[in-house]
Symmetry: C2
Subunit: 312 residues, 2 copies
Amino acid sequence: MTTIREVAKLAGYSPATVSRAINHSGYVSAKAAAKIQAVIAQLDYVPNDIARDLSQGRTANVGVVVPHLNHPYFTQVFNGILTAAFAADYNVVLLQSKYDADLERGYLEQLHRKAFDALIFTSRAIPLSELAAARKYGPIICCEDPGDYPLAAAYSQRATAYQAAFHWIQAQGYRHIGLTFSRSDKLSATTRLTLATYATTFGHAPAADLVALGVTTFADGYQAAQTWTTQASQPDFIFSNGDDIAAGIRQFYVDHQLTVPPLMGQENQLSGRLLGLPTIDHHFQQVGAAAFHLAASRQVAHVPVAAELILR
Amino acid sequence: MTTIREVAKLAGYSPATVSRAINHSGYVSAKAAAKIQAVIAQLDYVPNDIARDLSQGRTANVGVVVPHLNHPYFTQVFNGILTAAFAADYNVVLLQSKYDADLERGYLEQLHRKAFDALIFTSRAIPLSELAAARKYGPIICCEDPGDYPLAAAYSQRATAYQAAFHWIQAQGYRHIGLTFSRSDKLSATTRLTLATYATTFGHAPAADLVALGVTTFADGYQAAQTWTTQASQPDFIFSNGDDIAAGIRQFYVDHQLTVPPLMGQENQLSGRLLGLPTIDHHFQQVGAAAFHLAASRQVAHVPVAAELILR
DNA sequence: ATACCGTATGGAACGCGTTCCATAGCAAGC
DNA sequence: GCTTGCTATGGAACGCGTTCCATACGGTAT
């Protein structure tokens, strides 16, 4: 490894001057700059980022915690972060969490250790209180409304889109709405919000036997539809948590020569377009971009992003 | 920031002893270890990764160059890398290249600067010769067969799957095969390989007016089908470069009440399953895992991964 | 008693770029 | 002629964990 001191010696200047020349900071004569430049080219020297990071006390890395990349929410938010980070000369470290709280704590510790300058949680298993407590280790951004917790946040304003969706469904005259959700263990914030919005619109909670939990894939949707068709009470409309899932639901009806009930998906995916399903686009890419900007600016602000109802 | 020297002072030992205690290396008495442990807990001390990286001359980061994440090839390879890296306690830095050679050169420079320990190219715009030349800056892994270039590589053995696919198509009696490819600018390695395999199987190159270039999305597929239907020579079978694209092709025929020709996709995606299309699964996840292991082990080997023809 | 070894610990240098502070030449201003 | 103020440059310390090497003590082998 060639170092700045070697460059300095060969150029006949001090490391300090070489450093200034490289970073165009402070005073360097044209003659010195030229000589140093020549030596740098000759030795193929580039400064060592680790040393630079150490002396500057920062890496240009943001960590992004993602449970997995199999869901459009994550790929879209992540993409937004990536694009914004790239534009700001940051690198993005992708941290898989698998919804495991201990893994997430590990990433908080990496933040503490200065492995990255900021940490963005696209989702989380650990409580917000722990995230808030870890803020002393560096900027932490979450992608949901953190309520009163002193956390920076960028998130899709799903509530308004859900409202619009449910109003539209209601206006069409449907009353027995099948619902699918991804998390099965406990009710996630998204699930709770959907249910609350549903209750507000329809005046009552959905029928328990029309709610399917733990549904994340095409196959899960297929399975959910199967469950529904084997019971007395059946949905006359299905509001699912993804276009791919809606496609799975539809497939079950098709495969069994049953009338497919009207469906609404989410995420504005290819499968939804393919099947002409109405959907909700939560604009997760914008959420990601906003999250990055919060990370880089170290602001502790809330950035809600409007979601969009797409009818077809 | 609390440092190891503070811990040392408070514990009544030297930084060297504290370092040994933390890393369980060298000799530390039980008494010293206990005392140091207590002080670490009291101060909430964790070592600074940047300093550790500097003194050890490595980060535990691998950079992964990806043009974008909109294509299953990249998401799958990337996922394989991510999973393997996680298991080995490495972090993955995602580097967007947009098929831009200068961006890729920038990432090579980052490797030179020691921003990561190794660099994996899932695809590339710069010539292999440049990659090979940059090996002096650190391990570089490509995800294609590098031929005689001294580069580590993990890649899907597409040729055998293409052969199987074309033989199957031929055995079915089809002779006018429509083909779609993603890159339009110049013929990529994949495109060339597909065409070569085609020629070997059928004994001649595909008809020029049945080859569509620059096709990467559902909409592009739709467009390609449109072009074909407006010309004299029409395909009796379509071999496309993705299930999503095949879906787009099909959609055009459906929308225009035309008979949909039999289709084959690639990537084993949801849309293909949805439509019951035969497809090729290139096992890109395994490619990613293999690429990571090459990166971590610094071996300069070739790891071909068998692709699989899925008929439905 | 002497040599030798394992255990324990600390001092200091190292990795490498950055930056604060001091020194010095030189020109413009009074 | 002297002060003021740039322009230039270098020495040295800093950031912080690691590691080499030296020192020292208690015990065992001879």
